[in-house]
């Protein structure tokens, strides 16, 4: 197991370098960010040159990348154009998005798996059909529609909540955004659990367990559910990364100053240090989440061993 983890960690290095380089080139390929700083006018050449020099923009792209990478290893992600260190932005943004993602994951696990189990055990009944229809609706409506609608109804029309989350983003204000963010994945989790459960319900080991005379509850939870959760765990694992990066829409709607907001801001203002820095961290999150999922397999299914 230990050796496997080390091997996986080593494999991350080329993936990390490759992805960051691609992102770096793409961000820098869109054009000269210094021009955009001057508003709707011709930039003053001397000031523009000084700024380009400060951000290393006057050097060839490969060299810029090496300089950037060198700095990253010393923990320096550079400064955003407003002079704020990118690490400071990250320290503010990541905890908030992590909290939002955690709320969403909890919703997915609790509601998604519960609904999945209920429908999986009652295949073909009205409950099953009803939930299936509902998930279909949820999947087909884009997040910005559900988000804006929920915000308008609960925030403006009925006044139950504040439409915008305050800068500190406390947990209670994140419940609605978290639910909105979770909805689509939640629907997938429900369907995935249901299908997986339905498949395994006919498996030999379930029949054996029933034949042994085990109580129905024990058969369902210990045998059936545990084996059925493997694909669901895979999905949830990759979803952690997805939620953190994909929270952009939800974060904009509810004014949550997390990762999505910083990325959006960075892209709009062509603020390359912010974009590359945040995406680099997101790449790491994806890689680690995947590793964690693979390790969880071994926990859920003793037949899987990493040696």
């Amino acid at each position: 197991m230990g050796r496997y983890v080390v091997r996986r960690l080593l494999q991350m290095i080329p993936v990390f370098i490759g992805t960051t380089f691609l992102i770096f080139v793409m961000v820098y390929a869109v054009g000269d960010p210094v021009n955009a700083l001057f508003g709707d006018r011709a930039p003053d050449p001397a000031t523009a040159a000084a700024l380009r020099h400060e951000f290393n923009l006057d050097k060839p792209v490969p060299q810029q990348y090496l300089l950037y990478l060198g700095k990253i290893f010393t923990g320096d992600f550079g400064n955003a154009f407003n002079g704020q260190p990118v690490t400071e932005l990250m320290a503010n943004a990541f905890p908030i998005t992590l909290r939002l993602a955690a709320v969403a994951i909890v919703f997915e696990i609790v509601i998604g798996i519960t609904l999945g189990v209920i429908t999986g055990l009652r295949r073909g009944r009205p409950v099953d059909t009803g939930v299936l229809m509902l998930t279909l609706v949820v999947i087909s409506v884009p997040t910005f529609v559900t988000g804006s609608l929920a915000q308008y109804l609960l925030g403006v029309k009925w006044g139950w909540i504040r439409p915008a989350v305050s800068p500190e983003a406390p947990l209670d204000e994140l419940i609605l955004p978290g639910l909105v963010l979770a909805l689509v994945s939640l629907a997938y989790v429900t369907r995935l659990t249901r299908t997986s459960l339905a498949e395994n319900a006919r498996a030999d080991y379930v029949r054996t367990a029933v034949a042994k005379g085990l109580p129905r509850r024990r058969v369902t939870v210990r045998h059936l559910l545990r084996n059925s959760l493997i694909p669901v765990v895979t999905f949830l694992g990759t979803d952690v990364g997805q939620l953190m990066a994909g929270a952009l829409v939800t974060e904009r709607i509810f004014n949550i100053q997390g990762v999505g907001f910083q990325l959006w801001q960075g892209i709009v203002r062509q603020n390359s240090p912010t974009v590359v820095g945040f995406v680099t961290i997101l790449v790491l999150v994806f890689l680690l989440a995947n590793l964690l999922v693979d390790l969880l397999y071994a926990v859920l299914d003793p037949r899987i061993r990493y040696d």
Partner: protein
Amino acid sequence: MRGATRVTWALASSVAVALAAAACGGGDDDGGGTGSGDGVVRAFWTDPQNPIEPANTNEVQGGKVLDMAFRGLKRYDPETAKAENAMAESIDTTDQQNFTVKLEKGWKFSDGTDVTAHSFVDAWNYGALVTNKQISSYFFQFIEGYDDVHPDEGKPKAKKMSGLKVEDDHTFTVKLSQKFSLWPETLGYSAYAPLPEKFFTDHDGWLKKPVGNGPYKVDSYTKGQAMKLSKNEHYDGPDKPRNEGVELKVYTDQNTAYTDLQAGNLDVVDELPAGQLKNADKDLNGRYINQPAGILQTVSFPFYDEKWSSEDMLPVRRGLSMAINREQVTKKIYHDTREPATDLTSPVLKSAGGYKPGLCGDACEYDPEKAKKLIDDAGGLPGGKVTITSNVDTGSHRQWMEAVCNSINDTLGKNNACTVNPVPTFGEFRNSISQQKMTGLFRTGWQMDYPLIQNFLQPIFYTGGSSNDSHFSDKKVDDLMDEANELGDEGAAIAKFQEAEKRILDQMVAIPLWYQNGNAGYSSRVSDVKLNPFSVPVFTDIKVK
């Protein structure tokens, strides 16, 4: 049971991770909890693009803070846009080139230190020095010695401009590199604000919490989140705040801010989402402001390209202007937040400041028949077609370009005489402009630096002007502007500038499209909300119920 404990462990650990994530960064929970009875105005904000320094801020969001926390020598009256003395007691000159500035005594920064002549001279020298990389350093270009501290290339030869001399604590003299009679009127812009000692001794500390001499002082500033300002007790100017303070809240999306405004959680929003402009007046029960801003949109011809600049092409250039149905675009696309332009300035100047509607004459009136005749008689468009180029990442540029092209095509009775050339980003657009790659019409928006007719003409149409993107050059126009700058009488100077403007319009160097308005909405909790000529809300006047 071994397996059982493993599953429990897996679930327990994931819950633990979730809880830990939820717990960290919780911080203090008082955010956004400002009550309604404290007299504080809650206003929309987005993160300023650059650090908040007077000479390094060129957009409205940073400008908001500067307007509240700083006062320069002059201030532009929010209603008339006229420059009136603020910190200046007098600014005198006999030759329109050497100015003596006397400061009013008794002004203090919010940290209690005095505002002296040094506060201004040091701040201006800082703003001009090229190594300080200040975006707005070109504001100091008229002062003698600017070229030494801000050469186009290479290291600066001096650290201070030779044209600035401190006489005593409350007097300093300014020598300009050329005659410029309206120069004192430019001094209301925030780039000319004074800076306290702390700015130079503890720059990082100052940036974290700017200290100025304006009606408000900065209490706290969390970058990317919020800024809280309260009354500056040391402030003794005429425009003392009529509220207790201002809280600027950063929004990531204008739509969210608009929702928050409707829900009563926000008082002033000065960037309304484009999609809501149509309904804003109704949604907000009339608490909606739509007034001229100092922004003019034009499309220019590349005068470095013979096929457009030649004398024979004048009727074609005029014809194109007359082929554009400005009224339709401002109504249909912009919902009356733009107004068809008929000169090269802006209504915020008022006629006293040089705004002269109709100066363009027939050439800016939509007249398809005459337009077609003018263009056809001159032999048609060069090569039979014209393109309009602009960046399309902001401002509904693609929509209006298509509308303008349709209007031209309809006029000429051809399907593809006019085509749109969209450039994805502003950076790329700027690059191709500076490399003189334009082959047809291109967008040239102008946002004024100060409400003066000079600012709408000289940078854009003077030979070699800093924003003369079409590379237009006309000896007569240059001479008229030079003469205007030498005149001591303001009215006479403005008249001379208008003469130059008329000459530019007669040659149709740039087609005036529309004047841009500033928009804002406010809650029922506040009153007396208005925008100044730069479209920044006048926070000092806002009353909280």
